[in-house]
Symmetry: C2
Subunit: 152 residues, 2 copies
C-alpha cells in the first residue's frame, strides 16, 4: 500500500519495514524510526537475539543513533514512530531524551508502559506529545503472527 509521503501512515510504514527485517531475523518484530524536519534520521529494529542483549529494543537503538546524529542528548524536535507500544524501559529512555512526539502503532497491554502511566505521571516527558493507533492492525498482526509461529 502507498501512503502519502510525510504522513503518519507513511512514516509508520517505514517503521513497519524495520519490524519486517526483525521478523526475518527471528527477532520479536518491532521497528522504530526517528524523524526530524520531515527526514528520517534513524532506523532500527529489535536486535535482542543478535546482540544477546535484552535491552537492545528498536527504540533504544534508534535513540542512540539519533543522539549520535545530532551530537546531542535531547531530541525535542524529533518524532519517534514505533510499531508497538514501548515497554517501561523504552518509555523511560524516551523520557530522558525529551523527544517531541511519540507515535505508536499497536498497543501492548501486557508489557507496554501505558498501564503504569496516570495523569499525574505520564512516564514519557511532560512535553512529549503522544499519538496512538497508526496502522495498528498491520503492526500488531506481525507480532501476533511471530509468536504464533514461535509456539509451533
Amino acid at each position: 500500500m502507498e501512503y502519502k509521503f510525510g504522513s503518519d501512515e507513511y512514516f509508520m510504514n517505514e517503521a513497519y519495514k524495520q519490524a519486517e527485517i526483525a521478523y526475518e531475523q527471528h527477532e520479536v518484530p518491532v521497528g522504530a524510526i526517528i524523524v526530524s524536519n520531515g527526514k528520517i534520521i534513524a532506523k532500527a529494529h529489535n536486535q535482542t537475539e543478535m546482540l544477546t542483549d535484552s535491552t537492545a529494543h528498536a527504540e533504544i537503538l534508534a535513540l542512540t543513533s539519533a543522539f549520535d546524529y545530532f551530537g546531542a542528548k535531547y531530541l525535542p524536535d524529533c518524532t519517534l514512530y514505533v510499531t508497538l507500544e514501548p515497554c517501561t524501559m523504552c518509555a523511560g529512555a524516551l523520557y530522558w531524551s525529551q523527544i517531541g512526539k511519540v507515535v505508536i502503532g499497536a498497543n501492548d497491554e501486557k508489557r507496554g508502559y501505558i498501564r503504569l502511566s496516570s495523569p499525574q505521571e505520564k512516564v514519557l516527558h511532560p512535553k512529549t506529545i503522544l499519538e496512538e493507533g497508526v496502522l495498528s492492525e498491520q503492526c500488531g498482526n506481525l507480532v501476533t503472527d511471530f509468536f504464533k509461529k514461535l509456539r509451533k
Copy 2:
C-alpha cells in the same frame, strides 16, 4: 572505611567508587556493579555526558557488560549494586534481564522507579529480590553534593 569482603556494604562501596569516578568526570555520580558467585563481573558509572547519550546510565552500561561477559540475555544468578535507586528506564532494563537481586544505596523519590510500582506491578521482574538502604547516606550525599556544586 573497610567493609567485610563479600558483604553488601563491601559491594556497595565498590559501586560507590564507580560513582566517585563519575563525579570527577562531571557526570551525575551514580555507580553500579554486578556480582556473580561473589565476583564482580561488571563495573560502570554514569556516562551520559561523555557519550552524549541520555540513556547511558550506570545500570544500563553494567547490564550490557554483564550480557557480554556471559554471552547471555538473562542474569538470574547475578546481583546488581547501584548507589541510587534506578530510574524507570533502568528498572525496565533490569526487568528484561531477569536479574536475581537488586541492592539500592540511596532512594530517589523524584526520578526513581519505586513511585510507579505497586504490589500488582513491581516494575522489576517478579523473581527479582529487592534490597534498599545499603550505605544510603554516603551514596545520597555524593549526589546532593554534585547538584549543589552544579548550581553554584
